[in-house]
């Protein structure tokens, strides 16, 4: 029986732990968001971190509205945003704060005070006080950018072994456009109205830079749809027009089997799916970060899942005995066959999808590796620029860029590099050709083993290198 108290306790602890972890991620995101605005506030360590020493299986990724725009790694050491004790209210608070209250003061320095009024509106005042307090390492764009670069190699592990016990953290963006990243977070908080206000009154160059690039940066349409004319662009499918406050309450939860088990246990303790109330279940589960909305909707789904099977059994028994006998024999045989066939096809599709996915991940990994390598090359060869070669490359950077863009080689140069460094990057390809070539050959031999594309890579790269 699964109902023993110790089991339940274990499971609850497990539930709490991985939810806590999940919300730690969310908190770190928040701290970065706030860090973008205030550059010199310390952060407090998580007082409760010690109480959950046992690792769990947090295979799910936290759901939050910030997710699509968050491109920073979630390393605590980088952002010094030690995880805070997650509280359900915390998640909702910033959004309701931001979307509800208009901005009065808009300069960058004022943006620091902008944070405070909203914090005070939320129920978890202390949490945000501490959240917005970062240790005085400067959280400038450059710092973020370089730190993400440092961390990114580690994330290849994540791609290769997604099933391991760690939280699947958000992959860091390989963009070297630090301002773009910062604008993502900025855009997270701001909706379009605020951008306009910022446009109008910003004086500080910092905020100006953010505004300019924020116009072309990704924003958070689902949350910020309310007054914006851009809502036309957005698929009106699932998101209600005024979703800013609704979405706050409904941060998406990732229901794992373990969490669901926890849920079922709680429900059973309360006497079954019909008798159990969301509030009761929530209390029993004792999972941090779980809101009553999550439980409510989950309970609804659970109830309907249990109700239907009973129904279908009932109706099928309504046939007459004779009918049933005939139908049973015939349809059982046929059904078995049909089911087998269906199963076969489904299995095959699954198999193919798995293969495809592995390949895709691998390809992306390769591309990232190549780009990293070329960037490294360019960095090292900046020191040893040779004149004859530079004349050559001066003539052809655009053609190489085009080639890269067309062939999607992953060795593309990012737009923020100046012309000079682009040339030196090309230089990196040519002058230190031997080292690069060697590494390429290594990659190619890897890929060639797996896919046909390997041959394509090996054709393309040496050709490019030999083009000088």
């Amino acid at each position: 029986m699964k109902g023993t108290k110790s089991d339940l306790w274990e499971r609850n602890k497990a539930c709490s732990l991985f939810l806590e972890r999940r919300f730690n991620l969310m908190q770190s995101q928040k701290s970065r968001v706030l860090g973008a605005m205030s550059s010199s506030l310390p952060i407090l360590p998580n007082p409760l971190k010690g109480s959950f020493p046992r690792p769990c299986n947090p295979q799910h990724i936290p759901m939050s509205r910030q997710l699509p725009d968050d491109s920073m790694p979630l390393r605590n050491d980088i952002h010094q945003s030690a995880s805070l004790h997650p509280r359900a209210g915390v998640i909702g608070a910033p959004y309701s704060g931001y979307s509800a209250s208009p901005l009065d003061s808009v300069s960058n320095h004022d943006s620091q005070s902008m944070v405070a009024p909203y914090i005070s509106q939320s129920s978890s005042f202390e949490a945000f006080q501490s959240l917005s307090d970062n240790t005085p390492g400067t959280h400038t764009e450059a710092a973020w950018f370089t730190s993400s670069m440092d961390v990114s190699p580690l994330y290849t592990d994540n791609i290769a072994a997604p099933d391991d016990n760690r939280i699947q953290s958000i992959r860091p963006a390989m963009t070297s456009d630090g301002t773009a990243k910062q604008n993502d977070w900025w855009a997270d908080i701001m909706n379009d109205d605020w951008k306009d206000i910022l446009d109008a009154t910003a004086t500080d160059s910092h905020s100006k830079a953010m505004i300019q690039t924020s116009n072309s940066a990704t924003s958070l349409p689902a949350v910020n749809q309310s007054a914006s004319s851009h809502s036309m662009e957005i698929c009106p499918v699932a998101s209600p027009p005024n979703s800013s406050n609704a979405s706050v309450a409904k941060q998406r939860m990732r229901w794992t089997p373990e969490l669901h088990e926890c849920f079922v246990d709680a429900v059973n303790q309360l006497g079954g799916s019909e008798k159990a109330t969301p509030k009761g279940v929530l209390k029993l589960m004792k999972v941090d970060g779980l809101t009553i909305y999550h439980v409510k909707s989950h309970l609804q789904k659970y109830r309907s899942a249990r109700y239907k099977p009973d129904l279908s059994e009932g109706t099928s028994e309504k046939r007459t005995a004779a009918e049933e006998l005939v139908l049973d024999l015939k349809t059982s045989m046929d059904l078995t066959e049909a089911l087998r066939l269906q199963m076969e096809v489904q299995k095959r599709l699954h198999e193919q999808l798995e293969i495809q996915r592995k390949l895709q991940l691998r390809i992306e990994e390769q591309g990232k590796y190549l780009q990293m390598m070329f960037e490294k090359q360019s960095q090292s060869s900046t020191e040893k620029v040779q004149d004859p070669s530079s004349r050559d490359t001066a003539a052809k950077p655009s053609s190489i860029l085009n080639q890269s863009a067309n062939k999607d080689s992953g060795a593309t140069m990012d737009p923020n590099r100046t012309g000079d460094s682009a040339k030196t990057a090309e230089l990196g390809e040519r002058s230190s050709g031997l080292g690069v070539k060697q590494k390429l050959v290594e990659i190619e031999s890897d890929t060639e083993g797996a896919t046909d594309d390997g041959s394509k890579i090996s054709q393309e790269k040496p050709r490019k290198l030999q083009d000088s």
């Binding site: 099977p309 046929d334 599709l349 895709q360 992306e364």
Partner: protein, 259 residues
Amino acid sequence: MKFGKRLKKQVEESLPEWRDKFLAYKRLKRLVRLVSASGSSPRRHRGSAAEAAFLRLLDAEVDRFNAFFLEREEDFVIRHRELKEMAKKVAEDALRRRPLSAAETRSVRKEIVDLHGEMVLLLNYSAINYTGLAKILKKYDKRTGRLLRLPFIEKVLGQPFFATELISRLVRECEATMEAVFEASRGHAGASAGTAPVAAVAAADQGIFRNTVAALVTMGELRSGSSTYGHFSLPPMAPPESDLLRCGCVQVAAGPVSI
């Protein structure tokens, strides 16, 4: 055939509730055209507006995928657990020589197979949308000369809708459960004569089955080579077992999809 057309076909073949959840590929393509049409200068108002719209739409789409995916996943987790319980019951009853009615056994089996099918289709959903995103990003980069693709795809790789390991695991568990159920109640089914499946069997079967077949076909087509085959493209799929698909096509042609 171009991806847009294939996507459209796939969407048509998919389960009705899913049809509007796929990537808005055409709209994104239009935006890309707008961006490049208004000139390469990013400072031009029209161009930057289209770009902003493009980026916003991309994010919105990712949001949508995540929402839909998580919702379906939750549903599957619930159903999976229920079915496991039921399968256990079936197995126990079979052992205790107290067989369930054929109808019940039938329905349990059907449900397991259907759940399996839907989960695989969700995986397919994720894959198709990922492919679409990758393609549209490639187009964008090509047209605008920017480098949005790599960082954005990185982001996508970390999204919940792409983290399909849980569903995959559930699929495999489902297969195991299926084996157990079929084993346990083999006696009731009678000799399976390999007769042509009766079309009268629940239409839901048709829906999922048909979708699955369509998905396989589409995948095969998508991977059979394109004009811009590069080292970011996938290799061609192994040719599908022809008789398997033939049966599938016969079934598909047999009746209209109605769920």
